[in-house]
Each structure stands twice: as C-alpha cells, then as structure tokens.
Amino acid sequence: EAAVTQSPRNKVAVTGGKVTLSCNQTNNHNNMYWYRQDTGHGLRLIHYSYGAGSTEKGDIPDGYKASRPSQENFSLILELATPSQTSVYFCASGGTISNERLFFGHGTKLSVL
C-alpha cells in the first residue's frame, strides 16, 4: 500500500501568520494533490503537481501557495492565514493510470484563531 505522510497532524495558528503544511510520499508518484475537507463541501482541490518543480492551481487556490521541491515532497503554504482557512487538509499522491487511484495521507487539522 502506498504511503503518504503529512506533518504536522494538528496545527494551531494565529490570524495573519504563515503556515506550512508538509507532505511526503515514498512511492515515486509523479502526481500529488492538496485537498481541504469541510462539512457541507466535501473535498475540494487546492493545488496539484505533476512533478518536481511544477505546481498548478486547483479549484480553490486563493490564499494558498504550493511548492514541489522534489518528487517526494509537496508543501502547502498559507502566507497570511485567516480563520476561514480552518479546516482539515489532505495530501494525496497517485492519479495516473498506473496507480489507478489516489492515496491519501491522514490529514492535518488546522485551526486559525
């Protein structure tokens, strides 16, 4: 089973602060994704990447940046965190026909106060 590891698992941030969520996968997947999960909205795509050095905007990218410095690592950056960004964030890898699915991490619960 593919392994995707997110850190931290829980984070409390202050409004206006910078937050970085990290994701690591050791499965050599080219594609990686960041989703946020909110009750009543389901999972929504924030940013994604098709390989090291590339990032693309998903459906709700405003207020977020992404960084893919290597095949294994994909970060989500909130430069100026706001309370509306309080959510559970999931990283995933896979998404190609050879993988046939997305493999999700266990999520990061972020609270912005």
Binding site: V4, N31, Y33, Y35, G40, H41, G42, L43, R44, L45, Y48, G58, D59, F90, G94, G95, T96, I97, S98, N99, E100, R101, L102, F103, F104, G105, H106, G107
Partner: protein
Amino acid sequence: GDSVTQTEGLVTLTEGLPVMLNCTYQSTYSPFLFWYVQHLNEAPKLLLKSFTDNKRPEHQGFHATLHKSSSSFHLQKSSAQLSDSALYYCALSHTEGADRLTFGKGTQLIIQP
C-alpha cells in the same frame, strides 16, 4: 465545469437492511466515476471505480452501476454491516487514473444494531 451531487448528507440504517447512496454528476466529458470511503479518523481510500467496458465494479459487498443516460453512479449493498458506518464520497475524473478528482459533498452512513 464538472460537478458531483450527493443528495443525502446523512443516512441512518439498521444492520441487515440494504444500502443505497445516491450520486449524480455533470460533466462536459465522459468521465470516470469513483466511490471513496473514509472511516472515522482515517484517510479516504478507494472503494470502487467505474470501468471503461461497462462492467459493474464490486468491492467488500458494495457495487455501483454507471448509467450514462441518467448521469448516475449510485452505491449499493444488499445487507448493511456495522462496519460500513463511514463517510462516503462520490467523485469523478476525466482520466481513468483519478487525476484531479472532483468530489461530492459526501454522505455520512450510520449503521445501527
């Protein structure tokens, strides 16, 4: 753009009764459909996906049939088990490998003894 509709936010059933969770979709393309399941405090994981040759996918007693005429991919199981209690997401992608999944809002399924 693409969208996925899950009409039930919460479904409560008694163990042993049949399960049916609704999923309809809109897409400008002919998409691939997926069901993901998320148990409490766990990561979402693939339950089943539609096939290109119109075979009916089955997994863990669940099955779903893609009806292109009605744009539906309802999830069914003949007899619910307590362990089926979870959050279920219907999702679509333009690729068989699940790139850039668009998720519905999710249906919380609770199975009671």
